[in-house]
């Protein structure tokens, strides 16, 4: 208690005094947030809980829902693993390497963020779909869904790792190299530990995105329960077939995962800043 009082006393008066139009402005912001985000999400939670705990599990754990959840987590796991490697490699190439067109490559990394998800799905189908020129057809397969998820999650790890890599002091690496460490040992012992918080938060965002992605996968996945139906498609199909309870059960689980990921990222951010000090 006294500890807290000391902490509060240390905050300068200027910062403790609210500026601007505190009560009115914050009130409006809170009201808006409630109407737009909190109340609708409460409706989902209420719907899922309406039949009681037992009923909720029965709905969320039926074979089709379970298959959808298992597939979703499997794919998200694969997305995380692939992005951790390729994202770091791309960030490394953009920071440490030099080649023609590097600035252009750097610019297009953000394209999956800016491109509408349905367009992302269509572009992949144009090349790797039934009418593509390559002779591969990933339409209605899990490989296709995985590709779509890799497309939309591409920037997360790159953009998380890149700034940390830029700031990294190269003298440490040179010191390690001069002491006889190989390139790989230097990366593993010096670079990697510094990148880890950024890498993990990038990976966490990619995971959340992969769990919930809808637009990019809908055209590629088709509508095949037990085969390519991920959680978001399950929710969508069950709204369409007038089963909002079934849709809500999975939606609540997805909501919990999203909130969990945000909490993890918040913790990682605090961890990273503690390292700085």
């Amino acid at each position: 208690m006294s500890q807290l009082a000391v902490e509060v006393a240390r905050v300068p008066r200027a910062r403790r005094r609210a500026l601007g139009a505190p009560t009115l402005g914050s009130g409006i912001a809170l009201g808006y947030l409630s109407v737009i985000v909190l109340v609708p999400l409460a409706a989902v939670a209420a719907k899922a809980a309406s039949g009681g705990w037992h009923h909720f599990w029965q709905v969320a754990w039926n074979p089709e829902a379970r298959a959808a959840l298992e597939l979703t987590f499997e794919l998200a796991g694969a997305v995380v693993a692939i992005n951790a490697v390729t994202g770091t490699a791309i960030a490394w190439t953009l920071v440490r390497d030099d080649f023609h067109g590097k600035r252009l490559v750097n610019a297009i990394i953000d394209l999956p963020f800016a491109l509408p998800t349905i367009v992302a799905g269509l572009t992949l189908l144009a090349l790797y779909g039934p009418t593509g020129d390559l002779g591969v057809d990933v339409a209605y397969t899990r490989w296709g869904v995985l590709m779509a998820l890799l497309f939309v999650t591409l920037p997360f790890v790159v953009r998380a790792v890149q700034p940390t890599l830029l700031e990294l002091d190269r003298e440490m690496e040179e010191a390690a190299a001069s002491l006889g460490a190989g390139r790989f040992a230097t990366f593993r012992r010096i670079v990697f530990p510094h990148l880890l918080p950024a890498l993990l938060s990038g990976v966490a965002l990619a995971f959340a995105r992969a769990i919930g992605e809808f637009g990019a996968v809908i055209l590629i996945a088709g509508n095949l329960p037990f085969k390519t139906e991920v959680a978001s498609l399950y929710v969508f199909e069950h709204i369409n077939s007038d089963d909002p309870t079934g849709a809500s059960a999975l939606a609540v689980l997805m909501l919990v995962v999203s909130l969990g990921v945000l909490l993890v990222i918040g913790a990682l951010r605090r961890w990273a800043t503690r390292h700085d000090r």
């Binding site: 609210a18 500026l19 601007g20 139009a21 505190p22 402005g25 914050s26 409006i28 912001a29 809170l30 808006y32 947030l33 985000v37 609708p40 999400l41 409706a43 989902v44 390729t86 490699a89 791309i90 490394w92 190439t93 390497d97 610019a107 297009i108 953000d110 394209l111 800016a114 491109l115 509408p116 998800t117 349905i118 367009v119 269509l122 572009t123 992949l124 144009a126 009418t131 590709m147 497309f151 591409l154 190299a177 390139r183 965002l205 959340a208 995105r209 769990i211 992605e213 809808f214 055209l219 959680a231 978001s232 929710v235 709204i239 849709a247 939606a251 997805m254 999203s258 909130l259 945000l262």
Partner: protein, 271 residues
Amino acid sequence: MTARTRTSNRLLLVRFCALGYLAVILIAPVTLIFWRAFEHGVHPFWAAISNPIATHALRLTVEVTLIAVPLNTAFGILCALAIVRHRIPGMGLINAFVDLPLALSPVVVGLALYLLYGRDGWFGHWLTTHGVRVLFALPAMVLATIFVSLPFVVREVVPVLREIGTDQEEAASTLGASSLTTFRRITLPAIRWAIAYGVVLTAARSLGEFGAVSIVSGGIAGRTQTLTQYVQASYENFDQTGAYAASVLLALLAITTLLAMTVMRHGDRRA
């Protein structure tokens, strides 16, 4: 230096793998879609874009964006001020909920609005008796778009507000400026670039929104169909030219966004 030349092969391998992955996942498919759209010249592209259903979809998309962006900009500034300057209890939680749309599936957003404003929804009965149509109409589409594009202005403005601190605002208010004047003359000029970034990102997200809107709009061609839904409908009706043409239009908007951000970043650095 010798260490670097000795291992340059390995560096080349990393470069090759990184760029190869980018080419397979991103560059080749996006390039192909442009080629497909213009493969038979500009005329079929133009014909596919200018039919009444496509133009209606484009107009509706722009309309929804024009409503969502100003609302989210005003909210974004107020919310950023609340987060940085006012120590309200429970701010951590509010912070998390502001970020939530970035990590949440759009189908959950769509479902939430469906459960609120649908026939059997919380507000459904009241709305029906008063003859207000929200679901499968413009209001629900706007609400869905606002939800998914909510965080962008807040996220851009918060770090800048933290960085500029309160010294100048304090000085202004000590000299007798009202809080509104202080905001207009001191705070607003400092955060204007952050607001501009936020607006561009909000607009891009709004123009491209698909999942949440497709649940609450009904997607009736010529009435509640946005441009992204037009892409889906065209593809599923085997009208590939239409799907590719509308996709290229959306992709051009996305590329414009990226260019705008790059140009603005240059301006920001000079300012």
